[in-house]
Symmetry: C2
Subunit: 218 residues, 2 copies
C-alpha cells in the first residue's frame, strides 16, 4: 500500500509530466506540494525503490506504468468525488477541491466503481476536467482558450485551467460557468482585454482570466 504522501507525490509528478514532458524537476514538485527540494529528493528515492518512478540523479523523474496507474486512479477518485459533492450535496465548484483531496485517497476499487455508477458514469468533473475511465484511459482537453478567439467568434465554456477559489468564484459572478455561451465582441490590442457577451450581458475580462478558460467554438 501507498501512504497518502506517496500518492500525492505521484499525482504531482503525473500532472507536471503533462506540462513539462520528460524528466520532471525536483523544484517543480517541491513547489506544487509546498515542501522543500530536499524532501522531494528523499521521497523520489523511496518511490524509485518501489518501482513507481524511474530516476537518475540530477536528471529529473518519470513515472513508471505502475506509478502512472496509481496517479490516474487517484485523479479518477478525486474527480468522481467532486461530481458527487456538487451534484448530490450541492456544493459549489469553488468549494470541492479540498474535500476531494481527502476523499481521493480512499482508493478502494469497489467504492470507486460504485460511486461512478451512482453518479451515472460522468465524463467530466465540475471544472470540466475529464474523468479517467476505470481502465485509466483519459481524454485530454484540446486546450482552446477564450483568449484564442477572435472578435465575432462564439464558443461554449468547457473547462478551466486554473482552479483557485478566487478565480472560480469570480467566473461564477460573471456567469462564466460550464456550458455558458460566450461571444467575443471586442479585444483591446494593447493587453488582450476582452469584451464578451454572456447571457445577453456584456462583460470585460482580462487576458489573465480569458487564457484560463477552456472553450469549444460553435
Amino acid at each position: 500500500m501507498n501512504s497518502f504522501t506517496e500518492e500525492n507525490y505521484l499525482k504531482a509528478i503525473y500532472k507536471l509530466s503533462l506540462k513539462e514532458g520528460q524528466g520532471v524537476s525536483t523544484n517543480a514538485i517541491a513547489d506544487i506540494l509546498k515542501t522543500k527540494p530536499s524532501s522531494v529528493t528523499d521521497m523520489i528515492k523511496k518511490l524509485a525503490d518501489k518501482k513507481m518512478v524511474s530516476y537518475q540523479k540530477y536528471q529529473g523523474v518519470n513515472l513508471t506504468k505502475k506509478g502512472r496507474d496509481v496517479a490516474v486512479s487517484i485523479i479518477r477518485n478525486h474527480r468522481l468525488w467532486e461530481v458527487f459533492l456538487v451534484e448530490k450535496l450541492n456544493f459549489k465548484w469553488d468549494e470541492v477541491h479540498d474535500l476531494a483531496e481527502e476523499l481521493e485517497h480512499i482508493n478502494t476499487h469497489k467504492l470507486t466503481e460504485r460511486l461512478d455508477e451512482f453518479l451515472g458514469f460522468p465524463k467530466f468533473d465540475p471544472h470540466g476536467d475529464p474523468i479517467p475511465d476505470k481502465d485509466g484511459n483519459i481524454v485530454q482537453h484540446k486546450d482552446i482558450t477564450l483568449s484564442d478567439l477572435s472578435t465575432g467568434e462564439k464558443a461554449v465554456i468547457v473547462g478551466v485551467k486554473e482552479h483557485s477559489k478566487s478565480y472560480l468564484n469570480y467566473l461564477e459572478q460573471l456567469q462564466l460557468v460550464l456550458g455558458a455561451e460566450v461571444e467575443v465582441k471586442d479585444i483591446v490590442e494593447f493587453d488582450a482585454t476582452m469584451s464578451v457577451l454572456v447571457n445577453k450581458k456584456q462583460t470585460i475580462i482580462s487576458n489573465q482570466a480569458s487564457k484560463n478558460l477552456i472553450v469549444k467554438k460553435i
Copy 2:
C-alpha cells in the same frame, strides 16, 4: 487539528467508557486499537496535554467534554457514511465498516451536515446503531437482546452488538436483518440455543449469536 490516530484513540476511549464506565484502562485501549500498552500511555499523555482527556497515572483515562465532542462527531460521520454506502451505493451491511473507518476522519462540519441532509436525516445506521445529531446528542439502545426473550415472545430486530463481517454475514443468510420479526419457539435449557421463526422459516441459533442481536418486543 487532530490526527487520524488521535481521533481513533478518542473514539476507542469513548466506546470503552460506555462499557467500562469511569477510568478506561490502558490495556483495553491497546486491545481495541491493536497496539501496545506503552504506545497507549504515550498517546494518552499527548491527549491530556491537548485537554482531550483527563488522566492520572495508573488510574485510567476519561474524556473531557472537548474529547467527547470530537469522538461523538467522528462516530456521527462514521454512521452517516455507512448509511450512504448501504442506501446509495448498495453495499451490504457487512462491507461498510472499513470504508467508513476511513471516511469518518474527513471531519468537516459542512460536509457532514450536507451528507446528513442528503440522506434524509437518518436516525440509525445500517446496523441499528443510533446516529448522534449535529449537537452530539445520542440516544443509547436499551439493550434487550434476543437471548432475553422467553418462549412464545415476538420481537423486531433493531440492532447488533457485534459488528464482525462473519457475524453480519451469518445473520443475513438467516434473514435476521434489521426490521425482521422473530418469534421464539423453543429454548434449550442446557446452552440456551434457540429455535426461532423468521419469515415463516424455523431457524436454530446459538446463545453466542442471540445475545448479540438487539430486539424490541412486540
